[in-house]
Symmetry: D2
Subunit: 335 residues, 4 copies
Amino acid sequence: MSKQQDSVHDVAHLGRVELLTPKADRSLWYFRDVLGMEVVHAADGSVFLRGYGDYAAATLKLTEAANAGVGCVSWRASSPQALQRRAESIDQTGLGLGWNEHDFGLGRAYRFRDPDGHLMEIYYDEQKYVAPEPLRSTLKNLPQKFTGRGVGVRRIDHLALLAKDVAANREFVQQQLGFQLREQVVFDKGKTEIGSWLSPSPIHHSLAYVMDIEGGNGRLHHFSLWVDNREDVLRAATVMRENDIFIEAGPSMHNNSQGFYLYSYEPGGNRVEVYSGSYLVLAPDWEPVIWNEEERGTGVYWGSALPETFLNYGTPNIAVAEQSPRQKIPVFDPH
Amino acid sequence: MSKQQDSVHDVAHLGRVELLTPKADRSLWYFRDVLGMEVVHAADGSVFLRGYGDYAAATLKLTEAANAGVGCVSWRASSPQALQRRAESIDQTGLGLGWNEHDFGLGRAYRFRDPDGHLMEIYYDEQKYVAPEPLRSTLKNLPQKFTGRGVGVRRIDHLALLAKDVAANREFVQQQLGFQLREQVVFDKGKTEIGSWLSPSPIHHSLAYVMDIEGGNGRLHHFSLWVDNREDVLRAATVMRENDIFIEAGPSMHNNSQGFYLYSYEPGGNRVEVYSGSYLVLAPDWEPVIWNEEERGTGVYWGSALPETFLNYGTPNIAVAEQSPRQKIPVFDPH
Amino acid sequence: MSKQQDSVHDVAHLGRVELLTPKADRSLWYFRDVLGMEVVHAADGSVFLRGYGDYAAATLKLTEAANAGVGCVSWRASSPQALQRRAESIDQTGLGLGWNEHDFGLGRAYRFRDPDGHLMEIYYDEQKYVAPEPLRSTLKNLPQKFTGRGVGVRRIDHLALLAKDVAANREFVQQQLGFQLREQVVFDKGKTEIGSWLSPSPIHHSLAYVMDIEGGNGRLHHFSLWVDNREDVLRAATVMRENDIFIEAGPSMHNNSQGFYLYSYEPGGNRVEVYSGSYLVLAPDWEPVIWNEEERGTGVYWGSALPETFLNYGTPNIAVAEQSPRQKIPVFDPH
Amino acid sequence: MSKQQDSVHDVAHLGRVELLTPKADRSLWYFRDVLGMEVVHAADGSVFLRGYGDYAAATLKLTEAANAGVGCVSWRASSPQALQRRAESIDQTGLGLGWNEHDFGLGRAYRFRDPDGHLMEIYYDEQKYVAPEPLRSTLKNLPQKFTGRGVGVRRIDHLALLAKDVAANREFVQQQLGFQLREQVVFDKGKTEIGSWLSPSPIHHSLAYVMDIEGGNGRLHHFSLWVDNREDVLRAATVMRENDIFIEAGPSMHNNSQGFYLYSYEPGGNRVEVYSGSYLVLAPDWEPVIWNEEERGTGVYWGSALPETFLNYGTPNIAVAEQSPRQKIPVFDPH
């Protein structure tokens, strides 16, 4: 039995994403008032938020930092045993960083870096959300009231990370986290892996690695939040325009993933997607769909081509960061 | 040339609806925070509101009163000449009340009652809305920012009035206001006019008269506000449930009018509809669609049958009002 | 009283559009199988079609021709008297062509050209659609069954014509057809009228004139058909992609008109829009919204910028037509 | 480690549902022309169909039979080893029926009955769908073209079975198939289990057991197919009405499951749901949401109450079947 098969099902889902922002107040406004997330907690320069449908106490950690980017990406294990298995296995790769015990809402978490340097962790115990009275939903199976504020994102969905070597990082999460490969963009007759989309669950992708053509490390392409209907994405575009948020692309439909997307930049500079559609993958023997140059085209099924920035902008923004001495401090780790 | 032809095109559209409420604060909360309307002005026990797409300064006047119901229904004339023609013509019917000059946002208005006693007026001059800076839209052709608050109704659409004698009232607005008859429900082989839907514009109906089976006078069946997509009506239902608003019927689709409806009761007791769909009528020689008992059925194209209350509840609620000495004061006229 | 005021309300609505196509079979397939329109009649090289919600017998006339483009644009008058008034008035402009009596589904029609040379006509009498048994709707107020085939357009909505002199054509339809000006794009500090959107009814625009930067005459920019919800436009995009129809732009939202658009080229080469959203204009004293260079931007509220072809491609395609001797025959007039 | 934990993840998803129909031709018309499914194969009185997004060759088997009802319910195992484990474990319960090798599109399948008598099977090998040229999608990751015909269901989603003893059947699939319990309706202060919703994957429920208050055995409550947006469900209602399909309830929104539903009866009598919305369950330690009488109410979050038939009608229809001698043959097993 391969290493990959050992790890299948050990990770249940994406649990939390930490975003770094040099404009903490404006970023908070974006996630709370424009996207409509709920603030749950604040401590040590971080604010914790959640979508109304997230069952965990907090799924987004917004941390003030010198540069925009992604902080720690947290994966929930399927069981305490699975967590232990993953920690032991990752430890042997030399990429482990040890246990972290003190983050709001989470139990002990085993931290590590992926080959590209992104900080990640895996945990099992967590605090479930219990809504205070004004935020209790009239639906017993909804953890929190749908407030109708702003876009009204339901839950976090996935994130896309930039990586110098997509294959190496893809193999790492396949083997160490048991993710199933769903789709790939491969150019040069199979030689250049441009992007790979993976997931530990039937959600089409919880993590994508996309080539960092600027040659950075540990950078974020985008973080994505879910709404239930395509119409919600259209409405989100109007909400964003009325709030002077920069829309980079969409609303429109990808060919790979079939995702219905709207990409904006939150005030701190991170690319954030409001997302719906796509498709579930339930087949245990799913054969990855591989797109070559011609098939991939502009990455759009219908709607206009993605702009140049979609290919070369990530956070931290290297061009900007190079001009800043603060860049010397690794920007992807706020700790 | 018939009287009706004289008046065609003299009325442009429904301009404002005054609703009476015994729970002014709660009703205001409903229209502002749940429906997402904007407060523009307040004076003399009335609050003036608007939908984000209404071009006039205020389209809903909310007035504190002993009982729920409809106050004055204001129609905008097509020109000063049309206003004068209508005033002179109505004056001859004996239903005229004379000119009113002092309402917020409107120029002089000629007031009258329809045969059932509902207070109405017709005006031409009005104050167009100019949004203050925080409410300016990023769309130059949108009078006000789409705030995304609550349901987010775009504009007022129509209202339905109860009447003891539907035919008499229907003929009055055909002749005096030039409304075109769009659809009718007629029972007993053409003898009993249950309801008639009329409009001065291609909007399917701006006014409906429905038989008051309780035998009241001057009562309101419902007041309706528009959203652009059916999905907005579905979203409205969730917003209402999360705010403990009573939903009487829908979201569902009528057969007559093809309207996609959601009927709730605002806290003051008036039935309010969030509405989309239906169809425009552009034909100058439109032949009214007439539904008999069998064709009309439950009034629903798909979705469950309308509840009993939909047929017998109106405001003021006669059953309640009878128990109250305040009922002696005619409830449909707050002046 | 000005000429314009005389003509107000004399035209009720856009009644029929004739499109010319060099690929009649493929164009028919597009309108019938992709857009889902119904074929009603065929004669003399033309096929007559309709949307399921159109009340007239036929609203699209598809005519085989050497080049793509628009044939005759038919406007329905509000009354026989209005028709007579318009005919007499247009006759005095020298642009009248006389009465046409023989088109399927229409009574006598007064033909004329607008200053740019587009063929138009105005009529009052027409044949209402009576659905054959298999196409009868279960809705009494719907002229035809919703078949669910393809996109399922409900009705024709508007058309945009290219013109060398936008102002001259705009003034012509304001004065002779009583259209109200809704929006304009005017560059060079008010000196260059790039486009004007007009309508005889509360529909935002039934006719647009846009500058023909290629210097042609009588050309078509696009013809537009309505669906009820934005979601229908999204679905249309997928239907078009699955049928290998070229999508030029959208689905996305314009700033001027607030229209939610999807532009494709039908196989004959004409640009066809599937359209929803926008807003009704009910004000009799509507003040046109005028956009300058900066305000207009790309013409898009959200979604990607319109492609270059949107500005310079029209039918007949001059570049192509110049290479063809058949171009000597005026392509905008199939008669 | 408990039996339940052994079986977790051994079943991947619902693979196929067999429906029995006494009106095979009309049922075929319903699934092919009204729901828009594709016919893949026919043999021995059965027709095999699929949704455009299903990756397997066939997901619905429609079999002619004396009475309506459900035939065999097929679950796909996660691996050959998982299949073997499940077969061995079920064999020990005494409910096993042995291996079946000959069904179209499936490899060997281990058959069994649940305690209530419903026929089920579990398999691993299967034939993936390869679209013939006219049905190839322009999307590489979509197994089949979206034809736009009828409702256009994407994939099968779940089914609900009636059972005399909900708890016994619920425990069976928890233990033997590793399903996670998602929600329950329990009356009488926890004593009467009215219904339980379960799933082997993050799909909210793939199987529900609901109390058979008529006291039947092996009966079907409904079979459900997925569309991506709530708007698709609304459109489905119109498609059904135009095709004279009986709509029992909806479109509307359940409280438990948050499903957006439309229940119709296919011509053979089986209740079929067109479905969207709901929510994914990703938590490995999900705590079932339990609704009592008061919380459950009518089962509807908004929209009208479900009709009486929703509680007491299932297939085969016992009332009808009792009058038929063919009922003596167990109707849930066509083999």
